[in-house]
């Protein structure tokens, strides 16, 4: 159970992830705002409390791993890593700039604290299964967290990996589905209906939970429940809003990859700062 103080801290962390990544988007003029903002609360719970990591020793062998198969959530992850102390916040301003160590999609060889290179949707799922298997072989007592996009579930490779993860009984693998209902071209229901995501995973042999993906307490509790489940991998389906935290983006028809003017950036940051104040009350 999280205490009130911790809940506040995690809520603040999530908003700060949005603020810091918004600065990077604004500085660049565009970016994957929608999918970065929808996953911010989960990143806050992971990096703010749950994950066993050490920013001073990012390659620590017994650490928990985070693999974002939706590699385009990179900017939110970079903000979380910077806020956590992996590198200075100023580095976030180099997002996608020539020679940067912060590319739009996650790259373990460029960014300190990023555990896996992803970007071609679907592939992070198998990579996470391999990592979890490797840790089982080494009898490590750690977890591999995998973030999947809801549109990404249309990739067949996800289900290959899901099938084998369950077969191998990978209870050290906890996946999240950022169910923000939208993919690049529009709503999932209009393009390729997801039907029951947790139902699909359950039928593949996973433990599945459906929760509010913007409630840090629910996210925390779901992870705790997942850890109690032995002999099978767990998935937590996050009911989220694409672009969460910035009203303009939440309601925009197309919000996967958006342009961000300096004015919009300032507006969004102001909006987010108000949310920060509300948390503090």
């Amino acid at each position: 159970m999280l205490n009130e103080e911790k809940i506040k801290e995690l809520k603040k962390f999530a908003i700060n992830i949005r603020i810091e990544s918004m600065k990077a988007f604004g500085n660049l003029g565009f970016g994957h705002v929608g999918g970065s903002f929808s996953i911010a609360d989960t990143l806050a719970v992971l990096y703010g409390d749950v994950m066993k990591v050490d920013p001073k020793n990012p390659k620590w062998e017994d650490r928990d791993w985070l693999i974002s198969s939706k590699g385009h959530a990179g900017p939110a992850i970079y903000a979380a890593l910077a806020l956590k102390g992996y590198f200075p916040l100023e580095v976030l301003m180099t997002l996608n700039k020539p020679g940067t160590r912060l590319p739009s999609h996650c790259d373990k060889n460029l960014t300190v604290g990023v555990d896996m290179t992803t970007g071609s949707l679907g592939q992070g799922s198998s990579l996470a299964v391999g990592v979890a298997l490797g840790h089982k072989l080494d009898r490590r007592n750690n977890y591999t967290y995998l973030i999947l996009g809801d549109g990404e579930l249309q990739e067949g490779q996800i289900w290959e990996a899901a099938s084998y993860a369950a077969h191998a009984g990978l209870d050290n693998l906890i996946a999240f589905v950022d169910y923000n209902k939208k993919q690049l071209d529009g709503f999932l229901v209009d393009i390729n209906k997801p039907f029951s995501i947790s139902g699909k995973f359950t039928s593949f042999g996973w433990h599945a939970q459906d929760i509010d993906g913007h409630n840090v307490e629910s996210i925390y509790n779901a992870i705790e429940e997942a850890k109690r489940i032995k002999g099978k991998p767990s998935v937590i389906v996050l009911d989220t809003i694409k672009g969460k935290g910035w009203k303009y983006c939440e309601t925009a028809a197309s919000n996967h990859h958006v342009t961000v003017s300096k004015e919009q950036m300032e507006e969004a940051i102001e909006e987010l700062k108000k949310q920060l104040e509300e948390v503090m009350i």
Binding site: T117, Q123, S126, G130, V131, L133, G134, L137, Q157, A161
Partner: protein, 324 residues
């Protein structure tokens, strides 16, 4: 490197897949990080003995090659040294994006074996007959592409590639090879082996075409033509030095491969020649065709993978050389 060509080129008793499995079991006994991955072809690949001896280090994921490659890459990120294997088309084009990104681009440490190259897929037919795997793999930066010619070379190479970090593609003849090297021979990755010396023409060959090249050289010898034969078992990185030397000294080259002539060994050799020492060159290989079913002997003829074709191409290249 001491590679000793045998004088007695006969079909080997031991299948290549048996040697492959034995080499991996030797490696596994010395290094606990060696792991293997199968995609429901464990029996075909001869890997059952490994799975019995090292069940916890064997991951047979079932019929899912893309996942197999991704899982291999993930395992390598935790320090394991994975060898993933299946039939050539499934080990290359079926999961090309996974090899390119999850292995290559992500800088993971993975060995991928694609078996039954080209016409050796025989009765499995066109769907299983990779004439393009080398071509696909050549486009992956930093990859090493190897085509071991017999069990002696296979054993040496499989063991050698356990230590270096990177992505390796091994084009594996699965059944019995023709013995080319004496036991105990060792090889240097990236260095071609000169099997025969000669000054009139150089035949550069890989895989099952090495024996054909040597047979062709014997035929040519009877006609007073002295061919140099190079076994270019590393297709990438290609041995530029040996190619340029051959171009300079023999002034004519014929390449031979059990693969499409587009983007395979012939292309790799041609790239070196045109940029360094342009001389006449001809390619023996599959002339941009899909595979088909049949006995290997029939397919070798069907796709012109014969010593007769090599002799013919040598005669053509020598005419071009004379005209210069």
């Amino acid at each position: 490197m001491t590679a000793i060509p045998t004088k007695n080129r006969i079909e080997e008793d031991k299948e290549m897949r048996v040697a492959y499995c034995e080499a991996l079991m030797d490696l596994a006994s010395e290094n606990e990080n060696i792991v293997v991955l199968d995609a429901d072809l464990m029996s075909s690949m001869g890997m059952v003995p490994f799975s019995k001896k090292y069940p916890e280090r064997t991951f047979n994921v079932g019929v899912q090659e893309a996942n197999m490659i991704g899982v291999a890459a993930g395992l390598s990120a935790t320090g394991k040294i994975p060898y993933a294997h299946t039939f050539g088309p499934f080990a290359s084009r079926r999961c090309f994006d996974q090899i390119f990104l999850s292995c290559g681009y992500a800088k993971n440490n993975v060995r991928i074996t694609g078996s039954d190259p080209g016409v050796t897929a025989a009765f499995n037919g066109g769907t299983h007959m990779p004439f393009e795997d080398i071509g696909l793999m050549r486009n992956i930066p930093d990859i090493t592409i190897l085509e071991p010619v017999d069990t002696t070379m296979l054993t040496d190479l499989i063991k050698q590639i356990a230590a270096p970090f990177g992505v390796f593609y091994i084009r594996l003849l699965r059944k019995n090879a023709i013995k080319i090297y004496e036991e105990g021979s060792t090889f240097e990755i990236g260095k071609a082996v000169k099997l025969l010396d000669g000054d009139d023409v150089t035949i550069v060959a890989t895989g099952i075409m090495v024996d054909e090249a040597l047979k062709a050289a014997e035929e040519l010898n009877k006609k007073g033509i002295f061919a140099r034969v190079l076994n270019m078992f590393t297709i990438k990185p290609i041995d530029k030095e040996a190619i340029i030397k051959a171009a300079r000294e023999t002034k004519a080259i014929v390449t031979c491969e059990n693969h499409n002539i587009i983007n395979g060994l012939g292309s790799a050799v041609a790239e070196v020649i045109v940029e360094n020492y342009p001389i006449p060159m001809e390619r023996v290989g599959v002339n941009d065709l899909f595979g088909e079913v049949g006995p290997e002997s029939y397919l070798r003829g069907r796709f012109n993978l014969t010593k007769e074709e090599i002799v013919k191409k040598v005669e053509v290249v020598l005419k071009r050389k004379e005209r210069r």
